[in-house]
């Protein structure tokens, strides 16, 4: 991997220079924009995510929408939710907020924890390294789902769920980042410029900050970029299991879990959140992939 790319253009510029990178950046930007503008967009549509429209439902045949195609109409751009009549578009764009918020928060948490533990293990003495590495292994061998269930049950409902989800995802998934940071740090600390820095008397903290961290940027950014979509999927999964944000707050995983009942009678209601989630994840994965290629142009590195 080429590490001599400081004088080259910034990562963003390099991404923009790649056609795939440009598409991914635009898509991700669009998704973020939609989430930010959720109130504006729903106002444009004239709906909100929580209002019931019982009059649009066919109560006698199970509570699905009266109109075909999931009740898509000029008033309800993506139709309405079966059994409630809530507006799917509004729930979708508000759901994007939760999805992005949790993905971003969890990624940030994983990054910070991973950097902290990885750097401490990589730069510390043998005991610190052994201790922290064993701890990392320990966390990796915990079955995460039970811990998610337990923690979500233990923490009272009054604690904001999105924050809790971030904390749980960060707390359970920082280990891979820590491993990468540690491995890279171990490589970097053997480099002679680090020895040189120690020689002229730089403190460990200064070495970490000035010599190691910049070198970690490329692998860590690459890895972290791919953590965003996997956190997104994890959040959707927990919501799908009913462990995510609680109703009536909309979230994609939750929409999917209720939608599974309606595959036969109202396929539109399944496809909309499924495809949205898929598109978002793909956009973020593509961005991560493009970042990796931009950072490591030879494309052989992992």
């Amino acid at each position: 991997m080429s590490r001599n790319n400081d004088a080259q253009p910034t990562l963003r510029a390099r991404l923009w220079a790649r056609p795939g990178g440009r598409v991914a950046l635009i898509l991700v930007g669009l998704i973020i924009l939609i989430a930010l503008l959720a109130p504006v967009l729903t106002a444009l549509e004239g709906q909100d995510p929580n209002t019931y429209h019982d009059n649009l439902l066919n109560s006698a045949t199970g509570g699905g929408p009266n109109a075909p195609f999931g009740g898509i109409s000029a008033a309800h751009w993506l139709g309405i939710e079966p059994t409630t009549g809530r507006d799917v578009f509004a729930r979708l764009v508000y759901g994007a907020r939760i999805s992005l918020l949790v993905a971003a928060g969890a990624t940030l948490g994983q990054l910070l924890l991973g950097l902290l533990v990885g750097l401490a293990a990589g730069l510390g003495n043998r005991w610190a390294d052994t201790l922290l590495s064993r701890f990392t292994d320990l966390v990796l061998s915990f079955p995460y789902l039970f811990f998610s269930i337990a923690l979500l049950a233990i923490v009272p409902q009054s604690f904001p769920r999105p924050v809790l989800l971030c904390v749980i995802l960060a707390g359970l998934y920082w280990a891979p980042t820590a491993r990468i940071v540690r491995a890279e740090t171990l490589v970097l600390r053997e480099r002679e410029f680090v020895a040189a820095a120690r020689l002229y008397g730089a403190s460990v903290w200064r070495v970490a900050r000035k010599e190691i961290l910049p070198g970690l940027a490329a692998p860590v950014v690459t890895f972290t970029a791919l953590m965003v979509p996997s956190n997104m999927v994890a959040e959707a999964g927990l919501s799908f299991l009913g462990l995510g944000v609680q109703p009536p707050t909309p979230s994609w995983g939750q929409m999917l879990s209720t939608a599974t009942t309606w595959f036969q009678t109202d396929p539109e209601y399944v496809l909309v959140p499924a495809l949205t989630l898929l598109l978002c994840v793909l956009a973020f994965v593509a961005l991560g992939e493009e970042i990796r290629r931009a950072v490591d142009p030879k494309g052989a590195g992992r």
Binding site: N4, D6, L199, Y200
Partner: protein
């Protein structure tokens, strides 16, 4: 000169995109002859070597001209008609490779497949070209191994990582031999090896030439290496031919200025020593019974890198430390500046025990002891500008004023012969020599009293090497430095040292005045001295 040539190269041109590596090389190789291709990095010698086997194919490099391979006069071999390697089809090329033209490479460490047994790899090549059965191939591989001096019975089933560097290079030569090729292209075959091993490999190549009449194309940056082992030599510079002729002719009566420069830059054991600076009588550094043991780790046994070394260094003195890889010379140097914690023994610096310093006190005292590393590409942070890197030690030691910092760095850059416009450049934008100068500037900016130079010039081209050595000599005088100069090359060490310590297996086997090398008594020192390839005397 009447026999048919094996190989005729006409106007060979190689370029990588916009960069021209070779601008029209022509040569002819006759059976049994040995040709040396010599040049510094960037001369195009390796590109030329690879093109002879068509190895640029599929890499995006453009290769022009003709490389004509003539058939064997006996009619045996893979071709009946002359073949232009540049235009030959893949299948023909595949058959020629190894069978007619075999190649060995600079990095014996990585040139063998780490996942397969050495013997199997050689047998595999035989099976590929001769469609031989497994038993025959195995027998031939064993035979080839024996031919290069490897005990086939015990080593056939070994993996490459179980071999030393010299053994691996021998194994590669065996791989070439098993196919009975006519030409062996050796691309810097000994550069990565110790000087004594280098001598053995060169000797082996010479023997093979004699025994089986192999033609040789030997590529090297080192005129001295080429000197004793080829018939003709061709000097390249930046892709252009500079001079060619019989080797003795070129080395003793070079016509071209560049050839002369090259020859002059080669450090010689018999060169006159520069004038000495008088050292004061007080000792600055006293090492007593120093040992460094690396504990066993993940299966490897514990190794004693430094084994009970004692020495004394006077203020202003320059001590050369010479040894081959694994001799413990670098570990000794690192222990002196306390990059490596000794297992036992005592190091006194200016009368104080180095080991007694801890934490902040240690960091403060660091400024007196600096080390210049072998590879400036590694010792300078690739993500920091040159100026930044040089200023950093001052910042660490409390200088905050930007103007003063800038002035100090500019002054230092100038002193080491770098333009201050390089301040904002990054290491990869500099040449090797410039980088090492910058690394020297960083080491000296804190005005240390003792500087350990750990192979400071071995990664550099020979002409640059000479310049940097000269710079170090000047700086030593100007800054009144006490030097420990570590290198594998006796001739280089001799240029900057008052005394020379020869190390082998962690011990100092002999400590001699620089001027008295020829009086060496220790057999190891004598072996080292005799392994240094010698240039014919002008």
């Amino acid at each position: 000169m009447t026999s048919t040539p094996i190989l005729t190269v006409e106007d060979l041109r190689i370029s990588f995109g916009a960069v021209n590596a070779l601008n029209g090389l022509s040569l002819e190789l006759e059976p049994g002859r040995a040709l040396g291709l010599v040049g510094e990095s960037g001369s195009g010698k390796s590109a030329a070597a690879l093109s002879l086997l068509g190895l640029h194919r599929g890499t995006g490099a453009q290769v022009g001209g003709r490389i004509l391979l003539h058939p064997r006069p006996t009619g045996a071999g893979e071709i009946a008609e002359p073949v232009d390697i540049n235009t030959a089809d893949d299948e023909t090329l595949r058959r020629i490779r190894g069978r007619e033209l075999a190649m060995i490479f600079q990095e014996p460490l990585t040139s063998l497949d780490p996942y397969h047994r050495v013997g199997d790899q050689i047998a595999g090549v035989h099976r590929l070209h001769f469609r031989s059965g497994p038993d025959e191939a195995r027998a031939r591989a064993a035979q080839a191994l024996e031919q290069v001096g490897i005990d086939a019975r015990s080593k056939y089933r070994a993996y490459p990582h179980e071999f030393s560097g010299g053994m691996r290079q021998r194994a590669l030569i065996a791989m070439a031999l098993v196919l009975e090729p006519r030409v062996l292209v050796a691309d810097e075959p000994t550069t990565a090896l110790d000087v004594t091993v280098q001598a053995q490999i060169l000797q082996l190549l010479g023997r093979l030439r004699e025994e089986i009449g192999l033609s040789l194309i030997l590529i090297s940056h080192d005129l001295a290496v080429v000197g004793g082992n080829v018939d003709d030599v061709l000097v390249l510079k930046s892709g252009d031919e500079v001079e060619r002729g019989p080797v003795r002719e070129v080395l003793t009566r070079p016509q071209h200025a560049y050839t002369k420069d090259l020859l002059n830059a080669i450090p010689r054991l018999d060169a006159e020593l520069p004038t000495r600076i008088a050292a004061s009588a007080e000792p600055l550094l006293k090492v007593t019974d120093l040992s460094v043991v690396f504990p066993s780790h993940r299966g490897s046994a514990a190794t004693t890198a430094v084994d009970g070394v004692s020495l004394e260094l006077l203020n202003g003195e320059s001590l050369g430390v010479v040894g081959e890889s694994g001799s413990g010379k670098s570990t000794l140097g690192r222990s002196i500046v306390r990059l490596q914690k000794p297992t036992s023994g005592r190091i006194e610096f200016a009368g104080r025990d180095l080991g007694s310093w801890r934490g902040k006190a240690l960091r403060d005292h660091r400024r007196d002891l600096q080390l210049i590393f072998q590879d400036p590409a590694s010792s300078l942070n690739p993500r920091r500008s040159i100026g930044d890197s040089i200023a950093e030690p001052l910042i660490v030691h409390g200088e905050k004023d930007r103007d003063r910092l800038r002035a100090a760095v500019d002054g230092m850059l100038e002193r080491v012969g770098l333009d201050d416009s390089l301040y904002h450049r990054y290491p990869h934008q500099l040449s090797g020599g410039q980088r090492q100068r910058a690394a020297i500037a960083r080491a000296l900016i804190l005005r240390p009293r003792l500087v350990v130079c750990d192979e400071p010039v071995s990664a550099l081209d020979v002409t640059t090497q000479a310049q940097v050595v000269k710079l170090l000599r000047e700086l030593r005088e100007e800054f009144e430095l006490t030097l420990v100069f570590i290198a594998h090359d006796l001739a280089v060490v001799r240029q900057v040292s008052d005394r020379i310590a020869v190390m082998n297996r962690g011990r100092i086997v002999e400590l001699l005045p620089a001027a008295g090398l020829h009086e060496a008594q220790d057999p190891y020192t004598r072996a080292l001295l005799s392994a240094v390839p010698e240039l014919p005397v002008a």
